[in-house]
């Protein structure tokens, strides 16, 4: 179907078991009827190292970078397309449980495709924050997502906690 990123696949396919569902008011922007799981990602606290943190400023900055450098291909809503990887459900499934430095490194080396290597570390970190936030990942604090590779390497990208706490939908 789609050619996905040429990046290391997630090693751990099993869903992480202990998930604290923080249904904070960080709902993704998509239409409700087709929305990805609303903010049911766990913060992976106590699981594989430190939890994900990013600041609201990073999300805002990441959104600006995304609009200028990424949206042309990946879509305004990160939806991707027939020939472009999405940055939503499929993306999160592929990167789940991967050390965060690999994603940041990939973006740094390979993106944007027409001008790789042009994003400074603070923009890359902001992009990661924006994409995680868009996918319902909640930050455990407003501490900025680190820019240093060594610190990023200790953080794992959370697995989507599919619907453990999502309200059952009525037809």
């Amino acid at each position: 179907m789609m050619t996905f990123f040429l990046s290391p696949l997630p090693h751990l396919r099993a869903a992480t078991a202990l998930m604290v569902c923080t249904l904070a008011g960080l709902a993704p922007a998509s239409a409700a009827w087709a929305a990805p799981y609303t903010a049911t990602h766990a913060s992976n606290r106590g699981n594989n190292g430190p939890s994900v943190t990013f600041s609201a400023e990073q999300v805002t900055h990441g959104a600006q970078i995304y609009a200028g450098a990424c949206a042309m291909c990946h879509g305004a809503d990160l939806e991707g397309g027939h020939d472009v990887p999405d940055l939503g459900n499929y993306f999160m499934a592929r990167w789940a449980n991967t050390p965060l430095d690999r994603l940041a490194g990939y973006i740094t080396h390979a993106m944007p495709l027409m001008a790789p290597g042009t994003l400074p570390p603070q923009d890359t970190a902001a992009l990661v924050a924006f994409v995680l936030h868009h996918n319902g990942v909640t930050a455990t604090s407003n501490t900025p997502l680190p820019m240093e590779e060594a610190r990023q390497a200790k953080i794992r990208i959370p697995a989507p906690q599919a619907l453990a706490a999502a309200p059952a939908s009525k037809p």
């Binding site: 789609m2 239409a31 087709a34 397309g81 459900n89 619907l163 037809p171």
Partner: protein, 416 residues
């Protein structure tokens, strides 16, 4: 804009912004439409042999229409993560790949490796194939296989916004979702063009009229306030309530061309031509099933009587594609049946084109000449709404065939 037919959608881009009035001449009309068909590009057309005594089959479908648009939510039922994928109205075939892509995305987010697909209509099959391509081991659980499902009772052509939703009930957000589905589907379908047996193909579709076509396009919808609306009655009451999104993808859908008088081979005053994507059910259905088996897919014949039956399945993730059956099985009373009937005559491989005229459509396909009365009573999008009579109506079939038969009785084939 009034949409008189199922296929006029691709015209929308050309006439956006045009004023609501008739055009005085062909040049003026073609300028508004985009252009006139290049002289000499209308091939010699073999007449269609449309006679009721040639009927080989009459099929009736119930389009699974949901005013809010298709259901593509995730819920937990019977210990399973259930991804719904049903309720695509008259657009299931057209949107199938895009809708499957979204549904499988929800399934992928569970990080499971195995998925169950309920149903083997076109939504179930494309969901199963899409899941395989995303790396899932897939088992389809179904009561019926494709030749018996309601899906193959459609007319089988690109109609991505036919009875897909009501504008108000679906809300503005659905327009973007629809566009994503439509674009993804269209691009996936292109991969099945040019294959042996022509599972997916194109036909020149001739839209014919005795009165100016643009007048029909631009006539305001006639809304009877006394009838109310879905919001006041709980059921759609007029065509104007139905959502039309086709103009959003006019950049990739072939536009219509006006046929100037000398080039118009039909015995009508007004004609235009639009390339139309079609699905040849036999070839395409067999191909999809073959692909599914070749990729290691498994099919289990099974009928579910209640959502709680899912508890028995070994898979923890279920993509639910029951189509109209969701009304009963999942107690989804928002599903409204929209009856449609197609008649099938012997194939005419020497006459591979399509026609629509006076509310009847003809598509010459590899598995037969399909004739459908889609709007013979002036009801527009309301035709068949709320009608769950899933039994052939011979009189309706003969009436539709007579419209096409009458057209070709007056048809004078040109020489070479």
């Amino acid at each position: 804009m009034k949409r008189r037919d199922l296929f006029a959608a691709s015209l929308a881009a050309g006439i956006v912004g045009a004023t609501r009035r008739g055009w005085a001449s062909v040049p003026e009309a073609s300028a508004a439409l985009g252009r006139t068909a290049l002289h000499g590009t209308i091939p010699r057309l073999v007449p269609i042999r449309a006679h009721a005594d040639q009927i080989t089959d009459i099929k009736v479908c119930l389009r699974p229409f949901r005013p809010a648009g298709p259901r593509l939510e995730v819920e937990h039922v019977a210990g399973k993560t259930v991804v719904h994928n049903y309720g695509h109205g008259g657009s299931g075939w057209s949107l199938s790949w895009g809708s499957a892509h979204m549904a499988v995305g929800h399934a992928a987010a569970t990080l499971e490796r195995k998925v169950a697909v309920i149903g083997c209509g076109i939504i179930g099959l494309t969901s199963a194939l899409t899941a395989q391509r995303a790396g899932f081991d897939v088992t389809i659980y179904t009561r019926d296989l494709l030749p018996h499902t309601r899906s193959v009772r459609a007319n089988g052509s690109w109609t991505p916004d036919s009875r897909i939703a009501l504008t108000q009930q679906a809300g503005p957000g659905f327009a973007k979702t629809w566009e994503q589905m439509a674009r993804y589907s269209w691009q996936t379908y292109r991969d099945y063009l040019g294959l042996p047996g022509n599972p997916i193909d194109f036909r020149d579709n001739y839209t014919l009229s005795d009165t100016p076509l643009d007048a029909a396009d631009h006539a305001p919808e006639q809304v009877d306030p006394a009838k109310g609306s879905f919001a006041t009655t709980g059921a759609p009451q007029n065509s104007a309530e139905f959502a039309i999104y086709a103009s959003q993808i006019s950049d990739i859908i072939p536009a219509a061309e006006l046929l100037a008088g000398a080039d118009n081979p039909f015995p009508v005053a007004y004609a235009r031509r639009t390339p139309l994507m079609i699905y040849n059910f036999g070839a395409y259905g067999h191909l999809l099933l073959s692909e599914f088996y070749q990729a290691g897919g498994r099919i289990v014949i099974r009928e579910f009587h209640s959502p709680s039956d899912l508890a028995d399945l070994p898979e923890r993730v279920v993509i639910n594609c029951p189509g109209y059956a969701a009304r009963d099985l999942w107690n989804d009373k928002s599903l409204i049946p929209v009856r449609g009937q197609t008649s099938w005559l012997p194939p005419q491989p020497d006459a591979l084109y399509a026609v629509e005229y006076r509310g009847a459509a003809m598509i010459s396909k590899s598995d037969g000449v399909m004739i459908q009365g889609y709007d013979m009573n002036g009801l527009g999008e309301m035709d068949g709404v709320g009608n769950s009579f899933e039994h052939p109506d011979r009189a309706e079939a003969e009436k539709a065939i007579a419209i096409i038969g009458d057209l070709f009785a007056r048809f004078q084939p040109r020489n070479g």
